[in-house]
């Protein structure tokens, strides 16, 4: 392996050897004085910060995100088969880095805690000179790091974050989300559920007792009630809960015939396992088969729950079995390198990196405000979800949403979900001031370039 400078400032410093060159910066951030924005790349490299959970319960998801980032960097720098670059509708990426600068990266551990995630992101910005921060596997972290990036004047390209708040009431001018959200899950799932299970259903919600749980419950509730469903009860469960038996058992006592598990990660694995244990899926209520729904699916969760996910509906941002050229190219590229197909978290992280790089190229500058402008209302295709709009009003991507269900006969431990329906983007679009998204009060603020 060749020896290269880790720090983007290294080259410059070597030139200044022997001289003491004090520079005073005012303003919150860290900037090279001449460029007018934080961490303006000098020399022939640019540093990106990949901030993913490496410890804690989401460590495996973080590891998958990191794989995707490394792949993206390889492709941006002209290595490998280029992945989705050839299928991407925008053609500014030529395998020569970003704006001709070679892409380097630093990694950090969010620990899925907002304090740790901010510390890690700050170290990337302050110490390593990262120009863009991306990654994460929970909405709490995404909101916290997004606010930090806004303050510091760098771009934040969110990783896996599904809460409405990220681009809803907590949206920021410097933050962008490709991943879908609770509202879209609800809007995509409701029609499929009503087709599959009928319009006359009584739903019982178990909801993780924190922000993401609230937004997801609200979204699914509204969407299904609009289809004619009735919500019997909604019970909040503590995040730290491991055994859900005492929440599942009361479901048996009601006349509910659908259980909605607004849980993610370990919570979802346990609550679903417990629900199946209690025989809910074998139950008949009012002559109808009892059903379970998981609004947000991920492959790792499906793996953790094992056979229990079979036949259970949920939504997901992307799945490797999608037939379009972009998805195929990415799956091939990722699978060849790592030996298994990518997860939705890997996909969104990869895409976010490419979108950022392309936006910089189109803007012709690393200046966050220029990049933000290039991303706003940008329409693109070929990155796996069909034609997509990066809406300028809230920095949320609008694209098709996948409704999936647990596969009956998986061929491998990665082949656990099958696509039931691709919900068209029109059905999941909402106005930027939608009440679930913080209403009229929510605002991006203005873009902050740092210096």
């Amino acid at each position: 392996m060749s020896k290269s400078d880790l720090s983007r400032r290294g080259v410059l410093k070597a030139g200044a050897a022997g001289l003491a060159t004090p520079t005073i910066f005012t303003g919150a951030a860290w900037a090279a004085s001449h460029a007018g924005f934080t961490n303006a790349p000098e020399g022939d490299t640019v540093t990106l910060g990949f901030n993913v959970p490496q410890t804690g319960p989401y460590a495996d998801e973080g590891a998958d995100e990191l794989r995707a980032y490394e792949l993206a960097v390889e492709h941006l720098n002209g290595g490998g088969d280029g992945g989705m670059i050839p299928t991407f509708s925008s053609k500014t990426l030529e395998g020569n880095g970003i704006l001709g600068k070679k892409v380097e990266y630093v990694t950090g551990d969010t620990q899925t805690k907002s304090d740790a995630a901010r510390a890690s992101a700050k170290s990337m910005i302050e110490k390593d000179g990262a120009i863009m921060i991306t990654g994460g596997s929970s909405s709490g972290v995404a909101v916290a790091v997004q606010a930090l990036c806004q303050e510091a004047g760098v771009i934040f390209m969110a990783g896996l974050t599904h809460s409405n708040d990220t681009t809803g009431k907590d949206r920021k001018a410097n933050g962008f989300r490709h991943f879908f959200n609770s509202y879209m899950s609800g809007a995509a799932l409701a029609p499929v559920l009503s087709n599959a299970y009928g319009a006359d259903r009584k739903a019982y919600h178990l909801t993780a007792d924190y922000n993401w749980g609230y937004t997801t419950e609200e979204a699914v509730k509204q969407a299904t009630e609009a289809m004619g469903w009735e919500t019997v009860n909604a019970v909040k469960t503590p995040l730290t809960q491991t055994d859900f038996s005492s929440y599942i058992a009361p479901v048996l006592q009601t006349d509910a015939d659908v259980l909605v598990l607004n849980h993610y990660g370990g919570n979802m694995v346990n609550s679903l396992t417990n629900a199946v244990q209690f025989g809910l899926r074998d139950k008949l209520v009012n002559g109808k088969q009892f059903e379970i729904v998981v609004p947000l699916y991920s492959r790792l969760m499906a793996r953790g729950a094992g056979a229990n996910v079979k036949g259970i509906f949920g939504s997901t941002n992307w799945h490797w079995s999608l037939p379009d050229a972009g998805s195929q190219a990415f799956t091939r590229s990722f699978g060849t390198k790592y030996g298994f197909p990518p997860s939705q978290a890997a996909h969104t992280c990869y895409v976010q990196t490419l979108l950022y790089a392309d936006a910089v190229n189109r803007a012709g500058s690393f200046n966050p405000c220029a990049v933000a402008e290039a991303l706003e209302d940008f329409e693109f295709d070929g990155l796996g979800n069909g034609p997509t709009l990066y809406r300028g009003a809230d920095h949320q991507c609008f694209k098709d949403v996948l409704v999936v269900k647990g596969k009956e006969n998986p061929t491998s431990e990665f082949d656990l979900l099958e696509i039931v329906e691709v919900t068209p983007v029109a059905q999941v679009t909402y106005p930027p001031d939608h009440p679930q998204m913080g209403g009229a009060e929510a605002s991006l603020g203005s873009c902050n370039p740092g210096a």
């Binding site: 410093k13 001289l19 916290a144 930090l148 924190y210 922000n211």
Partner: protein, 397 residues
């Protein structure tokens, strides 16, 4: 000087000099060298060093002096943070009222928790404090979301219009001290080195020095002596006409106020609060800091805090690509071998390293890092005095 004896004065001066020169000391490696990865002299980490130093100093006043092991101290840090950020959101972006509010609210909370918990001692006390902290965490995460922001916590938003700050419409407020923003920095390039002098760090450092000075005074005061007597023999203290209850409660509240100060400073440096700041692992962390550094010593907790934060922030950022760079000069086989050996201990494996370090320190250095330092010191002295008669019995500390 400062009303301290000469030994403590010199300790304070050494700590002051080290703290003020930290931007140099923590950046020993030139920017473009492979070892620059180990540099810790960037604002965020330096701020964390001193803030967690304050937290650990405060914890040590309770645990080190009275022997009461609180397992819920992070709750006071969290409560202090929430109080501080609300102050910034509502009243002013100046950090002083925010920090002050953090101290006051944490102190009041500590008064309540301490009043109840100190009715028991030993592990029963520990579990009571743990229970209070876990309840605070659980409630802040869930039903108190309107006040705490729940999982996503609180940040300063464009809609926040503090009463005393004149912000432009749409401008997001930033924490400042009479106009000096915490993020302001001064960069000094010398040769291949780059040193960062950050306003926030120096404000926090001065606060830490004051906190450290107060803790020395407390340690050497009659009050501090009473607290050590509580740890040593509470029964005797009561039969000596002294009421141990108010002493322990006062120590608990002071220690809670230190935690609140740390919490307030955290918000001042980085305007964000999340509930996981109050989780039991955060309380456990400060216990580890104190024990790792040396319980009951003045400087130990600060060292312990520095060590844990260093590992958390530096080790976790080393990835395989960096390892390959370090060993690039080796033949490929050896390079890969070395990388494979080190791989489990860095990046995502930094917890493993942390666990091993705890075990090693506790096994071999029961007095923490301070004892390690003393042993090294003694080793040198013994070499020097080889010919002289052996030093007399160790004086009592």
């Amino acid at each position: 000087m400062f009303g301290l004896n000469s030994k403590d004065t010199s300790l304070l001066l050494v700590v002051a000099v080290l703290t003020l020169l930290a931007p140099f000391i923590l950046n020993p490696f030139p920017e473009n060298s492979d070892l620059a990865q180990f540099n810790a002299g960037y604002p965020d980490l330096m701020q964390r060093f001193v803030i967690f130093g304050i937290f650990a100093i405060g914890f040590n006043i309770l645990f080190g002096l009275t022997g009461y092991l609180s397992f819920g101290h992070a709750a006071f840090l969290g409560v202090g943070s929430y109080a501080a950020i609300w102050m910034m959101k509502l009243l002013t972006l100046n950090v002083i009222p925010a920090i002050f509010m953090g101290i006051v609210v944490a102190g009041l909370f500590a008064l309540v928790v301490g009043f109840v918990s100190l009715r028991r001692s030993g592990i029963y006390f520990s579990i009571l404090t743990l229970a209070f902290a876990q309840m605070s965490y659980a409630l802040a995460y869930s039903v108190l979301t309107p006040i705490t922001g729940g999982e996503t916590g609180l940040q300063i938003k464009p809609i926040d219009r503090p009463l005393l700050s004149n912000l432009e419409p749409g401008e997001i407020g930033r924490a400042n001290l009479f106009g000096i923003e915490m993020g302001n920095s001064y960069l000094l390039n010398v040769g291949g080195w780059q040193f960062t002098f950050n306003a926030g760090y120096y404000i926090a450092a001065v606060v830490m020095l004051i906190a450290f000075y107060i803790s020395i005074r407390i340690f050497r005061s009659p009050f501090g002596m009473m607290l050590r007597a509580v740890k040593s023999n509470q029964n005797r203290l009561n039969y000596t006409g002294l009421n141990s209850k108010p002493y322990t409660l006062a120590a608990f509240v002071i220690s809670g106020m230190y935690a609140g100060l740390a919490g307030g400073l955290m918000v001042a440096m980085d305007t964000q609060v999340g509930p996981e700041r109050m989780f039991w692992t955060a309380s456990g962390e400060v216990v580890l800091m104190a024990i790792l550094g040396g319980v009951g010593t003045l400087i130990g907790p600060v060292l312990g805090a520095g060590m844990i934060k260093y590992m958390e922030n530096i080790l976790s950022k080393i990835n395989d690509a960096i390892l390959h760079q370090w060993f690039a000069f080796m033949p490929d086989g050896l390079e890969n071998f070395k990388v494979a050996i080190i791989h489990p201990f860095i990046g995502k494996g930094w917890h493993l390293t942390l666990g091993i370090v705890f075990m090693l320190v506790v096994i071999f250095l029961p007095g923490g890092l301070v004892e390690g330092g003393q042993r090294i010191g003694r080793l040198f002295r013994r070499k020097k005095r080889k010919d002289k008669p052996s030093p007399d019995a160790t004086p009592a500390e």
